[in-house]
Symmetry: C2
Subunit: 642 residues, 2 copies
């Protein structure tokens, strides 16, 4: 993208700002649902700055603009911002102000900060509002100036929503899921649950969409009360099948575009029993705009209640006084804790587990065929690139009967490229593979039977002792976590060290979590379960439960040298109950061989050696039916006892 | 305690209640500081109910009374409540209402609940107040009815406070500690820090007291602002030395009894720079009464600010409206996060570390002499009881030069008694020791050089294979955690599995945490660091830092059979820094032998065997200078390589 383009785009934005009385416009990297991946129409930050990274915030004022990017993107952002007139703020570097400090410092007293309240979370919006209140700066979150000044902005994606069969795939009807949600709502004493989280809405209603690349979700909102279930979708995405289905299930379809204007007046009381509105939201997935709408909804009830029960008429008080009283009352009526649906969704039912077990074996077989082909081709001197190798694998996946799409663009990283955790080969096919060193392939697919995600690192020729040692440590880490048994109630924070300790004992570490949840024909990353050791502002404290699925993906990343990751997906299930409690264990879903040529047996302990041999034995058993004779013979050799 | 006594006592209380218009009085088990141990004058719950357990809440109404006790105390409470007319509520049992449910159910509309606001935390008080507001029930927390009707109530303990030498023992002056606290306050943008936590007040001012058994603390409060440091102590506890010291350090001494009445009017602004009061409290250690006093303090400023800055005169508004507005503003001015002092205190400085290393070796030597004596005496057929064994050990400790007192009553538990985690031999000397099975001894002392805590389980004759296996698993757990290295930033929740995994692999577990912090001539249990795996409502997420001290005490408890615990105290220190980060490790402070007769070598892996041999080698090296020839020869045999 040429620099000049951005200069003109910023000039157009500044004209709009001037007309609206905006001192500063904030342009984050988010859609209306705080999704991990966003559609093109939400890439305003990229449009105005030229910076293409997956995270970063742009702040534009009349005579200056700055972009905050994190360490992953310093070099790229520096390059892409050149000539745009935008200052790069390297987050975390000494002397670099935070966005908040910069705004507080640069914005004059009593000026106005604009942002699209739909693209900023409730928490961020409140933080900005409190921070700037001291300088008398006000917030306007109801206008999308960056969108208004965006020429030829892509339209919102509009793809038909499809139904996921409850009996064959989802394993539970939407009606039953809604019932369970309402039971949780009753426990929590709320009259409504309002969701903006796309994947959980899909799960709750047994539907899927196609509005975000590699994420089979539809833009949507949902409101569930004791009696009603409102599902907001774009009209163009609603098929006849869906209407019929909604009618039969007691789901009321509404227009996505009306959600924000509906919010203040939606009836959220739970009938006669308790006439007070109490609303449950997940603050991480509720936008500032949705939050404002909910407050307006609450305020009607608050004014009424205070008049009736406390004989307090807010309409006769000074408006500042009334606002403070409403704010005090609002807090009591808004329950802000993690989503109940997200948790329900994370526990796979028997149907989902059966489908997962099936599809993971088929998906593993595709990967194993690929590994065989890759090693053979490299030995035969074939000319391959990272990209052509990835394409071969993608095609094998697409051949599986219920294949839908890739669950993310295949990461195929050769040599030192693999040291970059999120490397993707470019359109030019990426690096050429030489017959030495290693290729890291992280890939997965969406199928009606579930979503897969797997990483294997393969030698494509001679490797160094250091590489073998690193690979074996990674294998040990992965196997040791896989073999861990633990008491019910244990969270991923308590488990992480089982994977990481072999690294730590050698003064090594990988700079990412060990595991994440995986959706069922949904996002390849989902929560609330996670395996990571470091204390974060938000606690990763969801205990594991039987039926949860999680990745196990330690690695070694050596900048400029090589990168290794082994990722196997695990199903959590009950192990046994003793007088001391109920114990859980992990069952691997992924069955693809570890690379025999990369194993240094001297690094193995008797325990980890037996874990490896046991796993390899199962790999042969599970995959053999899917392989031809040549592949099978190779796999048996590859998996022989070490 | 005879039942009749309680009946009369409750009758006297009910008369006082009637006079005050109290429907219900709540009598918890706490002093004014939410201390783990409380002085006799705070044992009102025991006085009125006869129940002597360490936890439990009594609720008394005109014609009924109920006591909530947890599972540890069901049998004891049932027995002790007999004839008192008090209903036992077995917490957690099906069908048993919680205290909250019971109050809500039994108290009539618009009645009044009384409790001493000094003995209930801010969080509990608020929960009660919100819960009962729905029924129009109000709270009175400013009267101590249970205290008023208590005949011959013991007086508050009053023991002179003494100074802890900064150079020799504390390693840092109070002036320097106050400076560091003020720096943290500045970061947090607060003008005052108000502490009710006894051990942190002692640490902050380099003083110690003697008001709580086994806890060298004085009843006290502290208020620190940018310029002032107020220390509230009972007048009778202030010596001339202390007055002089306070004067020299810029500490203002105040009367403990005046604290609550002072609170509403104390100047807590931080001078000219920022004229707003913002107060930091730790909500877990701030009583409801202190909280109410702080709100009154804030309200003065709030009224003034709203009048001046927002032109809003609360005095002309309806009082309900003014109260709501004040509540909304108060929230912004009260910072409720864990104590900064508690964290500062947890990190030992060089002087404290040197003293700890010294005293732990001497204390370990005393324990080791005891073990030698015990085994020899049992072999020789001596008549010993749990109590007489404990006394022998206590005397050895008292012989150490700077001994102050025991850090808790010595736990000496023989045979199946050891399965009860907090067993103490009674005044009759407890069980007689037979020459078979095991004795568990958990003990420690306060010294000027620090506080110790150690557990060893010893065979006193033949043992079963099952006991040996359990003991060896416990040793493996303890050694494995001791040998763990980990990245800086790791919390105890991430580490716990290193101790627990050998148990879990065998379907076993111990029902308590693995480790707690230990004070420096302060409470034997302190935080914020802790090693436990289970997710609790309050996250145990303080990362370990070099200088922290923590216990490592796994165990096996088999009801009716035996109990095993091995507790070694560890110092956290830096291991090394690599390109992947800074790693920490543990150094043992305790050096007492594990019981050779109880080790089953087949349970050891090569790794844990080498950890054991290495530890035993150090035990011999460290302790030899303190032992006589006979003891030394025995120790060398006991610690020979396995």
């Amino acid at each position: 993208m040429a620099e000049n383009q951005c200069v003109a785009r910023l000039a157009a934005l500044r004209k709009t700002m001037e007309r609206s009385g905006a001192d500063t416009v904030l342009i984050p990297t988010a859609d209306y649902h705080n999704s991990e991946y966003v559609a093109d129409c939400f890439k305003a930050r990229e449009y105005y700055s030229g910076f293409t990274g997956s995270a970063g915030t742009l702040a534009v004022r009349g005579n200056e603009a700055a972009l905050w990017a994190d360490g992953r993107y310093f070099i790229q952002a520096e390059h892409e911002l050149e000539g745009s007139g935008i200052t790069l703020m390297k987050m975390g570097e000494p002397g670099v102000p935070t966005l908040y400090e910069w705004l507080k410092d640069h914005m004059p007293e009593k000026s106005v900060l604009f942002f699209d309240g739909r693209c900023i979370t409730k928490a961020e919006g409140e933080k900005l509002s409190h921070l700037l209140a001291g300088k008398g700066i006000s917030i306007r979150a109801d206008l999308d100036l960056a969108g208004d000044a965006w020429e030829n902005r892509p339209a919102l994606p509009e793809h038909a929503v499809f139904l996921l069969d409850a009996e064959k795939y989802a394993g539970e009807t939407a009606v039953s899921k809604l019932e369970r949600l309402r039971a949780r709502m009753k426990e929590k004493n709320v009259s409504a649950y309002v969701s903006s989280k796309l994947d959980e809405i899909m799960w709750l209603f047994n539907i899927r969409g196609n509005d975000v690349e590699c994420n089979p979700v539809a833009l949507s909102y949902a409101v569930v009360t004791k009696e009603t279930a409102l599902l907001y979708l774009q009209d163009a995405e609603v098929t006849k099948d869906l209407s019929d289905y909604a009618g039969a299930c007691g789901i009321t379809l509404q227009s996505y575009g009306n959600f924000l204007s509906d919010l203040p007046k939606l009836p959220l009381e739970s009938g006669g029993e308790c006439e007070e509105v109490r609303i449950w939201i997940d603050p991480d997935y509720t936008s500032y705009a949705v939050y404002q709408g909910l407050l307006q909804n609450l305020d009607r009830g608050i004014d009424r209640k205070l008049r009736k029960k406390e004989n307090l008429d807010l309409s006769v008080l000074p408006s500042a006084a009334a606002a403070k009283i409403r704010a005090e009352e609002e807090k009591k009526l808004l329950v802000e804790t993690p989503s109940p649906v997200d948790y329900m969704k994370s526990i796979r039912n028997e149907t989902e587990i059966r489908n997962f077990r099936d599809i993971y074996v088929e998906d593993s077989a595709a990967l194993t065929k690929f590994i065989y082909w890759l090693k053979k081709s490299m030995k035969e001197g074939a000319e391959l690139t990272e990209g052509s190798a990835a394409s071969y694998l993608d095609k094998l996946r697409a051949g599986i009967s219920d294949y839908v799409e890739l669950s993310f663009p295949t990461i195929s990283a050769y040599g030192s490229n693999a040291a970059m955790m999120h490397y993707e080969p470019g359109a030019d096919g990426g690096a050429k593979l030489s017959p030495e060193g290693m290729l890291l392939v992280d890939s997965g697919g969406h199928y009606l039977r579930g979503t897969t995600d797997v990483t294997r690192t393969m030698s494509v020729g001679p490797v160094t002792e250091k590489m073998r040692r690193s690979y074996t440590l990674t294998a040990v880490s992965q196997l040791q976590l896989m073999g861990t048994v633990f008491l019910k109630g244990c969270s991923g924070m308590a488990l992480d060290i089982m994977a990481r300790e072999p690294m730590w004992e050698n003064g090594m570490d990988y700079k990412c979590g060990t595991g994440h949840g995986i959706g069922y024909l949904l996002n390849v990353h989902e929560g609330p379960q996670t395996i990571r050791w470091r204390v974060r502002e938000k606690a990763d404290s969801t205990p594991f439960a039987a039926g949860m699925v999680v990745s196990d993906e330690p690695g070694v990343y050596r900048e400029g040298e090589y990168g290794i990751r082994i990722e196997t997906i695990l199903l959590c299930r009950e192990w046994k109950t003793t007088p001391d409690g109920t114990f859980l264990c992990f069952e691997p879903l992924t069955f693809a061989p570890l690379d025999r040529d990369l194993i240094d047996p001297s690094v193995l302990t008797p325990h980890t050696r037996s874990l490896l041999n046991q796993y390899h034995k199962e790999v042969v058993e599970k995959l053999s039916p899917y392989l031809n004779e040549e592949e099978k013979a190779w796999l048996v050799r590859e998996c022989a006892e070490i």
